[in-house]
């Protein structure tokens, strides 16, 4: 019996070979390569040889001394922020409505599909769609504003920094609130119905139920949403890259990923600097995610764990002193 088990385990390794090989060649190797070249002078389209820099961190120092890089970090956080706050509010409201047993909303399935839809369309198509929408001087949005009498002059949307950022943020919001909503619905459905029943019996109204029951129970899911959205938001690339040519008025929609792309592929092929900027972005995401996890951790559970640990320690000591 024991023998056959061992054999099967061996097959398990065999079956995982394709994944492991492709992971090592297409994920891990480029990753390590990026780390290495971020300390080198690798530059130029056909360059393959590189040398480590006398000051290993020169590319990192250069990045922080590069005003465009600093702007790009600020932009990324700002655009992510103004997309995430409305997104989580709307997604949470919709999720609560759709799971509310008392309201009995009809056609929830259809709404779920409709709200999810923008996420299915490729980002490239959406970017082209929206850039056509906001085209100037002739474009649907300008036409609409004129007809409604809201504007008497052509509006050049992509010449204004805040408007450009707003449009990018809106697209991100519109593409992702459906996904967030589905995740939150799943989260709410995962809360034990007995808690809701108890709340109902205690006479809690809708708002009380939300803040006292749904919200606290949803905490892990909200944390998950926050972290994934943050990680995705920091890496925002396709929409800002494709929507506005170049990087918007005065770098307004230059996100960090677009900056990295520009370093590597806009003419000078500074792969070393691009790699350094990627590493910085990676550290920012890692550190911020860790902080988020720490702040949003389940404090009760953490406290309980501490008590248990302390008790175990005490018992151990007691046993030791007893012996």
């Amino acid at each position: 019996m024991k023998k056959t088990k061992k054999q099967y385990a061996r097959y398990g390794y065999l079956f995982s070979i394709p994944f492991v090989v492709s992971f090592l060649t297409f994920n891990l190797y480029p990753l390590l390569y990026t780390v290495v070249i971020s300390f080198t002078d690798l530059k130029g389209v056909a360059a393959t040889e590189f040398h480590f820099l006398p000051n290993l961190f020169q590319n990192y120092i250069d990045a922080f001394n590069n005003p465009s890089f600093v702007t790009s970090l600020k932009n990324t956080v700002f655009i992510w922020g103004i997309n995430f706050i409305p997104q989580i509010v709307l997604a949470l409201s919709l999720a609560v409505w759709f799971t509310n047993k008392r309201m009995k909303i009809k056609g929830v399935g259809i709404f779920k599909v409709l709200f999810y839809m923008p996420n299915i369309i490729t980002a490239a198509s959406i970017a082209i769609l929206f850039s056509a929408f906001f085209e100037a001087p002739i474009g649907p949005m300008n036409d609409l504003l004129m007809r409604l009498g809201l504007s008497s002059k052509t509006v050049y949307f992509f010449r204004d920094a805040l408007t450009s950022q707003g449009i990018v943020a809106f697209i991100q919001f519109w593409m992702w609130y459906g996904v967030t909503m589905i995740v939150l619905i799943a989260g709410i459905n995962g809360i034990s119905p007995t808690i809701f029943e108890a709340a109902a019996i205690d006479g809690a109204n809708g708002i009380q139920t939300f803040f006292m029951v749904t919200f606290p129970s949803l905490r892990p899911i909200l944390l998950y949403t926050l972290v994934t959205s943050f990680v995705g938001g920091m890496q925002m690339f396709d929409i800002p890259r494709l929507l506005v040519q170049r990087s918007g008025p005065d770098n307004a929609t230059l996100t960090t990923s677009v900056y990295i792309y520009n370093q590597a592929f806009s003419g000078s092929y500074m792969f070393n600097r691009a790699a350094a900027a990627s590493m910085i972005l990676f550290f920012i995401i890692a550190v911020c995610s860790a902080i988020l996890f720490y702040i949003m951790r389940d404090q009760d559970a953490a406290a309980l764990k501490k008590i248990q640990k302390a008790r175990a320690k005490n018992e151990k000591q007691a046993r030791r002193s007893g012996a």
Partner: protein
């Protein structure tokens, strides 16, 4: 026993899976060998549109004996979002049997392949066995295309098209304002020089017309008219001509001489049919702009256009053909034959003659300006869109005045940054000093080029 068979099967399947995954990289080669019937040799051709591949296919139809010796394997990758260049670079660097033998490069990035980072991979035409200098002389190839295609003294790339630009103007508007639509007289009204152009714009404005569609139209002309490239001695340099463009851009904006559109936007296309904000007097561009862009967008204004010599010579776009020095040596003769036929053959059997006269394909393709001046002189450039005007009379001259000497491989990015900042200045959101300062900062940040 049974169990053992099953185990063996599982093991085999796993191995097959693993093998197939690794084999994925090499499968292309197998296809190649299977495709070649007999002793035919393969010429690898890389391009970003099907234009050059179609020409080569036509050559195979016209010269069956060439087809017996060679077969053509084409790889077409669109330039959209810069996908073509990285793929081409990898193919050239990777070398070996699948390396491109002939590759096409567009004006926006050709410098990288003829004089920039990838130039060392281009093979001089003379080493292909083409008597290039004599042929250029004989065909009267537009000088700017030769300048762009030269690596030092060696010609490594040439095109088939001439993309020297002209003023493409509305006859009816010219008649209304100046009482004539004759190209020579119109050219005298709007040039030479930009002062005259702007005073003509004032006259147009008085009648309720816009002189040009957008500031970018003017930039197409001015970007290459100066004497210094963007980079001199590894340092950013702003040529006075480019600096002056900012002022002209502001004049256009402040005085309402344009509809303030962006090239390739709906509004720009609308201006071609006279359905934009105001009717537009002229566009500035080469023959391809007429044939491939304006013709399909002009609507009812077709036939009401004409071409005249621009206030300053310029070129816009174009395709250059290069041969890879690391390409398959066995197909070198075939490569030379194709390249010569496309870029340098000025006889009636050459590509350019049929291209100029629109007779390359049986379905009467469009007439286009070609690199060879002698071909254009012999050809009939009358097209209905221009009210029957022979456009070659203008485009031969346009090709001679275009300047191909001040390009760098950074131009595409630099030009984008510059026109962006110029727009900021023209529309009044910045002073000129600030706009130029920001432009320099962008160049320094993104390209790592020294700014004084």
């Amino acid at each position: 026993m049974k169990k053992k068979t099953r185990n063996t099967m599982a093991l085999l399947l796993t191995l097959v899976m693993a093998m197939s995954m690794m084999a994925g990289c090499g499968s292309k080669k197998a296809d190649n060998n299977a495709g070649g019937s007999g002793p035919k040799k393969t010429i690898n051709l890389w391009s970003y549109t099907d234009e050059v591949p179609n020409m080569v296919n036509r050559y195979l139809e016209l010269h069956p004996e060439f087809g017996e010796k060679y077969e053509i394997k084409t790889t077409v990758i669109a330039t959209t979002e810069g996908a073509y260049q990285p793929a081409l670079d990898q193919a050239i660097l990777g070398g070996k049997t699948d390396a491109p033998d002939i590759y096409a490069a567009e004006a926006a990035f050709v410098l990288k392949y003829t004089q920039g980072d990838m130039a060392s991979y281009a093979m001089p035409y003379s080493e292909l066995g083409i008597d290039v200098d004599a042929k250029i002389e004989e065909a009267q190839i537009a000088p700017y295309t030769v300048d762009i295609g030269k690596r030092g003294e060696d010609v490594v790339g040439l095109g088939f098209q001439a993309t020297g630009g002209a003023v493409i103007y509305r006859r009816s508007l010219a008649k209304e304002v100046w009482g004539t639509d004759d190209p020579t007289e119109v050219a005298a009204q709007i040039g030479p020089g930009w002062e005259k152009f702007m005073s003509a714009a004032e006259e147009m404005k008085a009648k309720g017309y816009a002189m040009v569609s957008g500031g970018g139209d003017l930039w197409q002309v001015i970007r290459n008219t100066g004497e210094q490239p963007w980079i001199v001695d590894d340092k950013l340099t702003i040529d006075p001509a480019r600096d002056r463009f900012m002022d002209l851009h502001k004049i256009l904006y402040d005085n309402g001489y344009m509809n303030d559109t962006t090239a390739w936007s709906d509004a720009w296309f609308a201006d071609m049919s006279g359905t934009g904000e105001r009717e537009v007097f002229c566009f500035l561009g080469p023959a391809w702009l007429i044939n491939y862009v304006m013709a399909s967008n002009a609507g009812e204004t077709a036939g009401d256009w004409a071409v005249a010599v621009p206030p300053e010579g310029f070129f816009w776009g174009g395709t250059w053909l290069l041969a890879n020095k690391d390409g398959n040596p066995e197909v070198r003769d075939g490569v030379a034959e194709l390249i010569e036929w496309i870029t340098l053959d000025s006889s009636d059997d050459g590509l350019q003659y049929s291209w100029a006269n629109g007779t390359l394909f049986e379905d009467n393709s469009t007439k286009d300006a070609v690199g060879s001046g002698t071909v254009m002189e012999r050809s009939n450039g009358e097209i209905e869109f221009l009210g029957g005007q022979n456009m070659f009379e203008i485009f031969i001259e346009a090709g001679e005045y275009a300047n191909g000497k001040i390009l760098t491989q950074y131009d595409e990015t630099m030009n984008q940054y510059f026109i962006d900042q110029s727009t900021e200045y023209a529309t009044g959101s910045k002073t000129k000093e600030k706009a130029i300062k920001d432009f320099k900062q962008m160049v320094s940040d993104n390209l790592g080029i020294a700014i004084e």
